[in-house]
Structures are given as structure tokens and as C-alpha cells.
């Protein structure tokens, strides 16, 4: 066996275990870790000729109040609990040792739909537009966009300190944080890749602390709204009215409207929407087993498998 430089590749004298740790584990797949108020989830996705495949999944619950997603101050109120939950997740995964993608929960970022003038870098334009409106100095904002084409993009701004906090939790668990994504953007990117057959649709992306409503019409995203959740008994009714209002803003008349729901509580909301006569369904489903929860309850899963 020869390496790239023509020298014989030496197998570690410590035996196959060390070889597997250093050479095989990195090929086990991409590890994605997602945080939210109710728990920490992890998934390993491998990519082959037949597309991405979920290899393993694990989830550990958090006690209420341990992690409170919000955009300004610290999120992990009991970081040792969050770290312990992440450690339990990692124990249940056959993960490699490459950079880990972190998914931050809905509620930590400011998110909006922007129209970017031609010839201007989208992130710079968004930073300029949002500079006065951010509740913290714009220099502390990490801004990035999800391009939609036609000069339009979904923009998001996360406070640097908030992102650092999640990266620090991952680093303390022995992970090497790589890309950092947002759950609603991960979900949106997957949902936009697979538009509904109907001309108009509303995608509801639920998080534990906040949710997004994205209305599309004629294949184009028209309206994007981001709200904090208020999970009392009347939330389903309020969400139902929000769906109707968002669809109306998007320019949908009386034509058929498809509602797709992902995120924690998706199944319950789909039931409520169906009972009120709306055409609703999950944003995605798995074709086989392997997940202890319904795929639609994981808003970030579509992005991880994209």
C-alpha cells in the first residue's frame, strides 16, 4: 500500500483499534448536533451514490429552563446539563471525528426576507439594512443569507456571543464545531427544494421557543414571518389564524392551499389544521424505521439530509 508521496503507508503499531480511530472513523459520516429548549439531538448522515442516508440518531431531553433560546443574552442557563445531554447523545451515535455541524434553535436569530440590489454582496447589504434595527451593536452580528434567486434571499443575524456559547458547549464535549446553521433556515432550505404541487402553500417551521411561517405562491417565497411561541392551550388556534393571514399576505386567493408543518409539535398542529378543514401534512417523512420520533418533529432533519 502506497501513500500519495510514494512512501509506504504505515499502520500504527498500536493495532487495528488505533487505525480504526484515526482512519476509519472520519468516514463514518457527517455529524449534526441540534439544540433546542426541550433537548439535544444528533444525527450521523452518510452520503453515497444513492444520496444521503441517516445512519444513526440520538436525542437527550433537557429539563425546562436549562436552555432558553433567545437572541440577546446567554441561552444555556445550566450549561452543565446541556453538556451532559450532549454527551448522552454522542454516546448513542456512531460518529466520526471530523468537524461537526451545529444547528441553533429558532429564537436566537433575527430572520427576514430581503431583496438584494444587483452587484451587492447579500450579507453586506443585510448588515447595512439591519444595522439600526438590531438590538445589539451590528459589529457583534454574524450575518448570512440563504439565496433564493432573482435577487431575493432569506437573511439571518445571530449575535456572536450566542453562537460562541453553543460552540463552547460542543467544544467542551470534545467536538470540533464546524458549520453553524439555524434550524428554521435548515428546514426552509429543504422545503424550498421540494415545493408543493399546489400553486400556493404555507410552511410552518416550529421550534420550542419560536416558529417561522413561510408562504409561497407560484413557486416563489413571498412572505416570511418569525414569531415567539406561546405554547398555552390556544396556540393551535392562533397558529391556524396566522397560517390563513400569512397565506392572504402572500397573495393566495381562494385557490387550494397546502400547509406543511415541521418541528416539535408538528403532528399536533397538523391534526388541528386537518380538523379545521385545511389540507395539511408533514414537511417530510422517513420511508423506514431508525428514528424514535416522527421525522417531521425534527425541523432541521431535512437540511441535514439535503
Amino acid at each position: 500500500m502506497r501513500g500519495a508521496a510514494g512512501r509506504p503507508r504505515r499502520v500504527s503499531p498500536r493495532g487495528p483499534r488505533a487505525y480504526n480511530e484515526s482512519c476509519v472513523r472520519p468516514f463514518r459520516g457527517e455529524l449534526t448536533v441540534a439544540f433546542d429548549a426541550s433537548g439535544v439531538s444528533g444525527a450521523v448522515v452518510s452520503r453515497g451514490l444513492r444520496g444521503p442516508r441517516l445512519r444513526s440518531f440520538a436525542r437527550a431531553s433537557l429539563e425546562p429552563g436549562a436552555l432558553l433560546p433567545q437572541p440577546l443574552d446567554e441561552n444555556a442557563h445550566r450549561p452543565e446539563e446541556v453538556g451532559a445531554a450532549l454527551a448522552r447523545v454522542l454516546e448513542g451515535l456512531a460518529a466520526g471525528r471530523g468537524p461537526v455541524s451545529l444547528v441553533l434553535p429558532d429564537g436566537v436569530a433575527r430572520i427576514g426576507l430581503v431583496e438584494v440590489p444587483a452587484g451587492v454582496p447579500p450579507d453586506q447589504y443585510v448588515r447595512f439594512r439591519w444595522a439600526q434595527g438590531l438590538p445589539y451593536p451590528s459589529g457583534e452580528a454574524i450575518v448570512d443569507v440563504l439565496p433564493l434567486g432573482g435577487g431575493r434571499a432569506v437573511a439571518a443575524a445571530v449575535r456572536r456571543g450566542v453562537a460562541q456559547e453553543y460552540e463552547a458547549v460542543a467544544a467542551r464535549a470534545g467536538l470540533s464545531p464546524g458549520r453553524v446553521d439555524l434550524a428554521p433556515l435548515a428546514a426552509l432550505s429543504a422545503l424550498l427544494r421540494d415545493p408543493p404541487a399546489e400553486a400556493a402553500g404555507v410552511d410552518v417551521i416550529l421550534g420550542d421557543a419560536a416558529y417561522c411561517l413561510a408562504a409561497s405562491h407560484g413557486g416563489a417565497l413571498r412572505v416570511l414571518r418569525n414569531r415567539r411561541r406561546d405554547a398555552d392551550g390556544g396556540e393551535a388556534g392562533r397558529l391556524r389564524r396566522e397560517v390563513d393571514r400569512t397565506a392572504a399576505f402572500a397573495g393566495n386567493g381562494t385557490g387550494p392551499l397546502r400547509v406543511r408543518v415541521v418541528g416539535p409539535g408538528a403532528r399536533h398542529l397538523i391534526g388541528e389544521l386537518l380538523r379545521s378543514g385545511r389540507a395539511a401534512g408533514p414537511g417530510w417523512e422517513t420511508d423506514g424505521g431508525g428514528l424514535p420520533v416522527e421525522a417531521a418533529e425534527l425541523a432541521w432533519l431535512g437540511g441535514a439530509l439535503g
Partner: protein, 172 residues
């Protein structure tokens, strides 16, 4: 669709062994593509001629449109503005808007753009999200306003939001 990255260390390019394998496969694919591209050269030239033809036609249509607009635009727009300004003066628009505002929603700024129609840009602040929703609902249901488009919403304690709408003249 490139995926965003909010890591504090910025975007980075991850190059692993798998990437190198894909690079080798891509090089092979490239050589095959070059071979087939040579065969497609004739198609490209034919397509180029079609594109030139379409561009010439597009330029001709654009020139006709510009000429048409130049003939009618100034008078039409000016008369529409004059009519709108007389029929829907700012105090009336403001008064109509105020009837829709719930008690804990206030108007921070209002921009009126008199053109062929009257477009409004509103900045509002609401103490509660439910009040803002109620204002949007009233605006949407009002016969005086059309094309209601909620813009950016900032929710730090109170709700601050931008809304765009068009004012429907009472004479129409």
C-alpha cells in the same frame, strides 16, 4: 442553494480524503465533458445565432416600449398624481389609518408615495403581538387599503414592524 454559516470563525473550506476522491472523479468527468463539448461545438454556434436573433428582437420590442412610454407617461402620471393628491390628501389617509389602530398600537412613521396609485410605507409599534395582528387584520379587511404586505418585524419587548399597503381612493 448554498447553505448559510453562522460559526464565529467564519466560512471555511473542508477538504478531506473524500473530497479528493470526488476531485479525481470530477477530473475524469471533465475530460469526458471536453470530448463531448468538441462534438457540441456546432450546436453552440447554432444556439449563438438564435440568441443573437432573439436579442435583436428583444431590443426592438424594448425600443418600442420606451417610445410608447415616452409618449404617454408624463401626462398620465402627472394627472394621476394631481387627482390622487386632491382626492386622498395626507390628512385623510392618516385619519383613515388611525381608525384602524388598536389602543396599544401607534404609528411611528408614514411615507406616502403618490404615483399612479398611492403607496404607503408604515412603521408601527405595538405593545403586544396580538395587537399588531389585530391591526394587520383590520388593515387587510378595510376596503380603503389593498395590497397589505407586512415587512420586517422586530420583537424585543414590544413589536416594531414595517408594513406596506396601497390606499384605495374613495372615488374609485
Amino acid at each position: 442553494m448554498s447553505r448559510p454559516d453562522f460559526s464565529t470563525r467564519g466560512r471555511r473550506a473542508d477538504v478531506g480524503t473524500g473530497d479528493l476522491a470526488f476531485l479525481a472523479a470530477a477530473a475524469l468527468a471533465l475530460s469526458l465533458a471536453v470530448t463531448s463539448a468538441a462534438g457540441a461545438w456546432g450546436d453552440l454556434r447554432r444556439a449563438g445565432r438564435d440568441v443573437d436573433k432573439v436579442q435583436r428582437e428583444t431590443e426592438e420590442v424594448s425600443r418600442q416600449v420606451r417610445a410608447h412610454e415616452a409618449r404617454q407617461a408624463p401626462d398620465t402620471v402627472l394627472s394621476a398624481r394631481a387627482l390622487l393628491t386632491a382626492d386622498s390628501p395626507p390628512p385623510r389617509v392618516l385619519a383613515d389609518l388611525e381608525t384602524l389602530l388598536p389602543p396599544d398600537v401607534r404609528l411611528l412613521a408614514l411615507t406616502l408615495d403618490y404615483g399612479e396609485g398611492l403607496d404607503l410605507a408604515l412603521q408601527v409599534a405595538a405593545r403586544r403581538a396580538a395587537s399588531y395582528d389585530l391591526f394587520l387584520q383590520r388593515l387587510q379587511e378595510s376596503p380603503l387599503f389593498t395590497g397589505v404586505r407586512p415587512g420586517e418585524e422586530v420583537r424585543d419587548g414590544e413589536v416594531r414592524a414595517q408594513v406596506r399597503a396601497s390606499y384605495r381612493s374613495r372615488r374609485r
